[in-house]
Amino acid sequence: MESKDIRGDQAWIRGMTQPRLSRRQVMKGAAGAALSLGLAQFIAACGLPGTKDTGWTAGTDWNAWWRDQQKNGSLNFASWPLYIDTDGGKHPSLEKFTKKTGIDVTYSPVIQDNASFFSQISPVLQNGQSIGYDLIVMSNGWQLTQLMQNKWLIPLDHSRMPNFQKYAGTVATNLAYDPHQTYCAVWQAGVTAIAYDEKQVDGPVDSIEILFDPKYKGKIGMLSDPDELGTAGLLALGINPQTSTYADWQKAADLLTKQRDDGLVRQYYDNSYIKALEDGDLAVTQAYSGDVFQAQNSGYPNLKFVIPKQGGVIWRDNMVIPYHADNPVDAIEWINFAYEPGIAALIADWVNYICPVPAAKPIIADQLDDPTVANSPLVFPSEKELKRLKEYPVTETLKTHEEWVGLFNPIIQS
């Protein structure tokens, strides 16, 4: 084969003698360098602002503020699915409200869980803008605590809520997380305890220890909300969640980890546990009172709800008015209206959770002719029954929240 001396090659000579970088290449290089420099600056400069000091400032005169507000005739109300009386696609309680006050209500059942709804609204509130809703329903828990601590909620003007003063039961007035109801008006409350399938479990059940019984291996449901899971562990250890310490939480986490590792837990469920229970996939599960009550009345009489001897946990969903709301007066008028016994009765008779208005009980029994609901301890618990219910640990700081979540989330998401 003939070998060629490349030094005689024209192309090689041209390549070696002409400038290596054309002008355009230099320009491109410079542009690239400028771009990467700019990006480095961009990265270095940016941080993410926190939520601190993004709410209303301390010392705001809320009495004066409320005096200046006017009724606008419309209300944007965000709540949870299936959480208000519904009849043929309409909501009678809201219609009565519109008829009485002339306020048009846009009802949006958009809240699926507290954490994801909070993550949607918090950037808006952080920017000091209206979230588009005048009234939202949030459960007591870390997200509600943040809304209060960030001063992202408007303090309620109790002088505009005479029905609340008159009719609110202890469920709505004895709030560990908001002792003077500065921000919160309870919409409904409920109990987290145990539900079981009579076909699979020999009742009666009276202890939370059934959730740790190897007999039901693979047929036990636990809730995927770390607050619910952790309190179940605490109750099983005989610890009162409200006064529990970090050491207690660790013990509860150990117990729950063992429960999972032994194969007892079928799954950590969101609201879908009730379907699994109805389908027979679960024998026993952590459960919310209203879900089981509704299931019993829709063809599953074999499902039972019990508050074990260790106690159940009471939670409350609260109506709160977000800061920058466009129609605060309309919102507070609805809060007041919802505490009218006749209206509270309409709502409670449909949603079957604990009603914050005890005076609604005779109305449900007589006028609505629904003694099953009126006499249910899950809708109108007696004071004695309420005393058996425990409160969640109140999380005041981010550190506490992170400690709690850091212990229980790894169990749920292993």
Binding site: R24, F42, L48, T51, K52, A115, Y268, L398, N409, S414
Partner: protein
């Protein structure tokens, strides 16, 4: 001069689009992953590179599981859909488009509804398990829901059309004269398939695997709805860290590592299988 800048001008919209919707968000994620702080006081850039090894260490099981489930479901979808695509392309006749439409029809239904339907189908006393239990094939306590099998089933099912369509397109393009010529030269049916049809459909297989694999490895809904206590995928962790815990740096770091791992896979895959087939047949 005019002709020199013309190509740049022509590609400018695409470049701008990439810069706006890919490069800027990517850089934002990179910078957020290197920040420290919390949601109340805010996050500041501290070049905290330790977040990567820490997060990897903590969530390696979920990351590995994502690739395992993603890989298995992609392989199953390929095995299931190649014959279907083949049949439609070669034997579909005049009704090809109807068959394709039927293939896609279930996927006009919302993703959530389809996954929930699997929950119904696979439930312990449901139409599949209930029947098998009644005729004594399965024990009373057997279950599929909440196990890896259920998650992989959901992932595979959702991948079916995305696997079938590119393979169909590749098969459809094959010149039938080549197959006929192979037959004339005494190639057996198997040889025709092995030497002519399979290599010529390779770009479709390649595209299908990429489309399905990348989507399935990052998926989180199947694990959330059909999974159990030990089927958490990396997508679930990212979602929880971001939405529930507000831990943006860890969520960003995990997203980046997932992306890097996927890119590495795609690169290796392209080196081993891709370039040859694409250069030869594209």
């Amino acid at each position: 001069m005019k002709s020199r800048i013309a190509p740049y001008l022509q590609s400018a919209p695409a470049m701008l689009w990439l810069a706006l919707f890919f490069i800027v968000p990517l850089l934002a994620i990179v910078s957020i992953s290197l920040m420290t702080g919390n949601s109340i006081d805010g996050y500041t850039l501290t070049w905290n590179f330790a977040v990567f090894p820490d997060a990897l260490n903590e969530y390696s099981a979920q990351l590995g599981r994502s690739f395992l489930y993603g890989g298995i479901s992609t392989a199953l979808a390929l095995i299931a859909m190649y014959p279907v695509a083949y049949w439609i392309a070669f034997h579909g006749g005049r009704r090809k488009s109807i068959f394709l439409f039927l293939l896609l029809l279930p996927f006009l239904v919302s993703f959530i509804i389809r996954i929930l339907t699997w929950q119904f189908i696979l439930s312990d006393e449901g139409i599949v398990l209930g029947t098998l239990k009644d005729i004594g094939i399965l024990g009373e306590n057997a279950h599929i829901l909440s196990t890896p099998v259920a998650v992989i089933t959901g992932l595979t099912y959702d991948a079916l059309p995305w696997m079938a369509l590119p393979i169909y397109v590749a098969l459809e393009k094959i010149d039938r004269d080549l197959v006929e010529a192979a037959g004339d030269l005494y190639a057996s049916g198997y040889q025709q398939f092995r030497r002519i049809i399979l290599p010529l459909s390779a770009p479709g297989i390649y595209a299908g695997i990429l489309l399905v694999g990348i989507a399935n490895i990052g998926d989180y809904l199947s694990a959330q709805i059909l999974g159990g206590p030990s089927t958490t995928m990396i997508g679930n962790i990212i979602q929880t860290e971001y939405v529930q815990n507000g831990d943006y740096p860890v969520a960003s770091a995990l997203s980046l590592m997932l992306m890097a791992a996927l890119l590495l896979c795609v690169f290796v895959y392209a080196r081993v299988f891709g370039t040859r087939t694409i250069q030869e047949y594209a």
